[in-house]
Amino acid sequence: MSFKPEILWTDALVYVLVAVIVIFAWQVRRHEHLLASWRRVGHSASGMAALTILVFFIVIGLLDTIHLRPAIENGNGGSETAYGVEVLSLLDLLATPLRMQVETTYSAPFATHLYARETVELPGGGQVREFPRLKFGGAHLQDPEAQLAGDIAIRAGTGAGFALLLWFLITASVTAIVAHRRGEKFVFTLSTIWRGITPVPWRAVFVTLALVLLLGGAALALCGDYHILGTDKVGQDVFYQSLKSIRTGLLIGTLTTLMMLPFALLLGVAAGYFRGWVDDLIQYLYTTLSSIPGVLLIAATVLMIQVYMETHPELFDTIAARADLRLLFLCIILGVTSWTGLCRLLRGETLKLREMEYIQAAHAFGVSHWRIISRHIIPNVMHIVLITTVMDFSGLVLAEAVLSYVGVGVDPSTISFGTMINAARLEMAREPMVWWALFAAFSFMFALVLSANLFADAVQNAFDPRMKTLSALSGTWRRKSIGKNA
């Protein structure tokens, strides 16, 4: 099957972001003082466990970012291949069964029948109102009532078994690498990991990995033949929607930061460094901006863009491109309204730094302002930038959910946690209740935000010089003290 790669606006920015992160990581490897802080992040058990979960989210998000348009197989065999209007991501292709297996309406998780009665024509004439069998969910079962539990158990068991195998492989290879690096025997390293006395908390990582893999393995094995999180009003698989929402959440969290960083960094540092009228101007700017209610500004902008897009449909070849642009504008407007906090922090820090004696020494050498800012000030405020961006991430993911719920968020065709919640809210009042859509959105968002927060805590602890943690009461001095007291 031939296809044409499609790079949407947000995709391009994600690629830029990945490149920036790779360059940053390379820089960190070269600089001992940066590496030391990151090592402290690596020594935090909760941080590393959270990172393990985040990696899964990020991989899913990245898979969902690589977009392409498959060719349409048309009969005429012309010289030109036509490409479909539907833009698909790698994730969509991998999850084709999930995407295509659409029921008619709601069905509960692991159900074999619809959640609503329908009038069914009997073969011998006549009609009956009953819960019809699902077209895909559990369609392979002859006698659903009797076989369902057993079939689920077997499939889940097989999936978990494969996951366990994979886990053993990963654990063994990581242990081997660690052992090789430290020049120890494999078994010795394994036992230190098992007792949890390695500097990098591998035990926590492995335990988290085991949990995630077991859950993921079982889910993968089941999702082909069941709707493991049920289906929504139009019969779409909720599990698939949850997976698709991850990218939207990650994008809002990261791209917004990318948008606000230039403002915050340049304006904050300039205000603190130059003082005087520059400082006054920038202060008035952000004071004004932060006194306008954020939601109001966002709603106004989003509505304006919406109108513009609707009146100019010719600008977009596909629905995806349109939805994507709207997402990008949402990131931009969120960024514009949220740079003031960081800017204020950076201004304060720069005010402190500019009085430092090494800045004065640079003045005494006649170093230009631009060089002082780029070489002396910005590297010394980077820890604040890092802490703030990581801390802001989870807040932005939640903000997206709220905005989409209110209706000024992403395009309705974009699947996001906010749109999922919005769609599910009316059904909460229904009897019997449709709970799974909300549950799915909630648990995915919870896992993402919690792990982001835990990771942010670890980063903050490692980079904030005032929060230097004490070492746990380690064995060496205990021994000495016992010896002395005896």
Binding site: H31, E32, H33, M356, E357, Y358, Q360, A361, A362, H363, A364, F365, G366, V367, S368, R371, R375, H376, P379, N380, L470, S471, L473, S474, T476, W477, S481, K484, N485
Partner: protein, 699 residues
Amino acid sequence: MSSVLEIKNLETVLHSEPRPVWAVDGLTLQILKGETFALLGESGCGKSITALSIMRLLPEAGEIMGGSVCLGDQDLLLLPETAMRNVRGKRIGMIFQEPMLSLNPVMTVAQQIGEVLQRHFDLRGQAVEKRIVQILDQVGIPDAANRMNEYPFQFSGGMKQRMMIAMALAGEPELLIADEPTTALDVTIQAQVLELMRGLQQQGGMAILLITHDLGVASEMAHRVGIMYAGEIVEMASREAFFRGPAHPYSRKLLAALPGRDRRRQGHRLDAIRGNVPSLSREFVGCRFADRCDHAWELCHQVAPGWTALTGEQQVRCHLFDQNSGSRIVKPPVSGQTAAPATLDAESREFESSPAAGAEQSAPDGSLLSVTDLKVYFPIHKGLMRRVAGYVKAVDGISLRIDRGTTLALVGESGCGKTTAGKAMLQLIPPTAGNVRYNGVELVGLERHRLRSLRSEFQLIFQDPYSSLNPRMRIVDIIEEGMNALGIKDGGKEHEEKKVDRLLESVGLPAETKWRYPHEFSGGQRQRIAIARALAVNPKLIVCDEPTSALDVSVQAQILNLLRELQRNLGLAYLFITHNISVVEYIADEIAVMYLGRIVERGMVDEVLDSPRHPYTQALLSAVPVIELESKRKVIRLHGDLPSPANPPQGCHFHPRCSHVMPVCRKNYPAASIFSSTHTAHCYLYPQDEEQSDRKTQA
């Protein structure tokens, strides 16, 4: 007399990455009633941790691992925390180093002292107030009944330290722990506070544990002295015995490292101790000082020395005294053996032959830098429209001259404007008025790019070696920054790297250190790097802004040696800004004494120090603590503090604190009185220079 405090084998550990630090390791001492015991040593030797261990106020990471601390007959380490609270503030009082940080800014003084009285004496209402007034009178706060309801910010630094003492005294303690009580204060204020502490001790008979790094303060205050090194006491002696003949090689080195005029006259280098205090996280085998000791032999590296009693009053922990106990080795301390191999080889002498050098370019009067009537005023903005309501006259018309290859010391208390003056001379702060001529070129109002081309001629070394190097830059980048910014490029990249190596070697650091980051170096090493950075652009003049005041005595000696050596070899001129008179005595050729933005006395170092004319100079010099066994000098007490430079007193700035004040002093600022071609002072006690006073009255 009975002992108030008895510490036996105290061991305190700070749990830190990557290994625990044995900050105090087997410390034993006792303090008698009415006695002052001075615990002396360099920073990082565990002095403050000892004090905190006694109070059981260790930071979270600290833990007392063993030993006993007996106050009277009660072991404090066995008390429960609730009982300990009855001891703190009641039986033991403590004074901290930083009076600005030790008082709560949102509570009045009366509230803070009252807290102690309520807690320990259960006093209420009138009784509390009466007692507070009594205590404040005792520590010499004028108008105590009114001032007790003021907040800490309404008091000056010296007053705040008195408040701290008042709070410590409120519980009528048996033992007062003073942790560097005067380090943050100026010498004149220090003299006041020390006198107060002495007086209070004589009245109340309490014991004082004085923690200090200043040998002068110890010699003035202490009855007995303990020298602490790397977590243990290495020598204990009575004050007389110690200052007459210190026994331990470390003690002798400490005394020999003190700068002073005698050493300069003898042309000696200062006797610096090589290396640094060892990290206390390692295990020690043998004597802890062995690595830095000139007399160490194999035994010192293998066996830790025990106590040897020399006389009844002097004990020492050193193998030198083991074999023939009591007999002191008479070998004088070997001088000239220092860590700084600051000998510049022939190759590095090329700094000297840089184009700007040579007499042919010098100004007609031969001076390198001449400053006339320099003024720096900072506007005070008030109100909504930020209109200028007044000026802080930080520098108010100073004139001075520095000749090639000489050192001018600018001396004064903190807040007198000496740092501002130094920065204004280098055009880092724009001067309000006046002229600064460098080599005949007027610097004030020079265009930015022309000034930049002159920047390499004059450089700056700062006080705090921790904030003067960018923590995010490697040493090589730090040193090359100046060269790149000023476009000093002789040869390619390789040549530049070689130059960095040579610079580092010339300040006594190995060349491979250039790839490291500042945090890997100690304070003294950082100061060397800062000096190398300044030297990188071949300056002719260096403004040294208190370059040694953040350093320990032994490291200070290393840096002073280095600066003198560089001056000799490269012909540098220094403007040395300091408040430390003994450093001035050692390094300066000329002195200018500054008071509230003006220079009150100027002259050659011998003229000013031997026969100070201005009452302020006299008071300043008399307040410096000195080590002498028979205290014969009289401290001239100055009343009050430095007035605010925003509102200097009418007439002579010094008249409110002067003991010789005359009516004329309150009216006009005195003109210069000339004593010799180099020595002048501004005081009405001496005949005025006619010509100048005419001009003054006209103006």
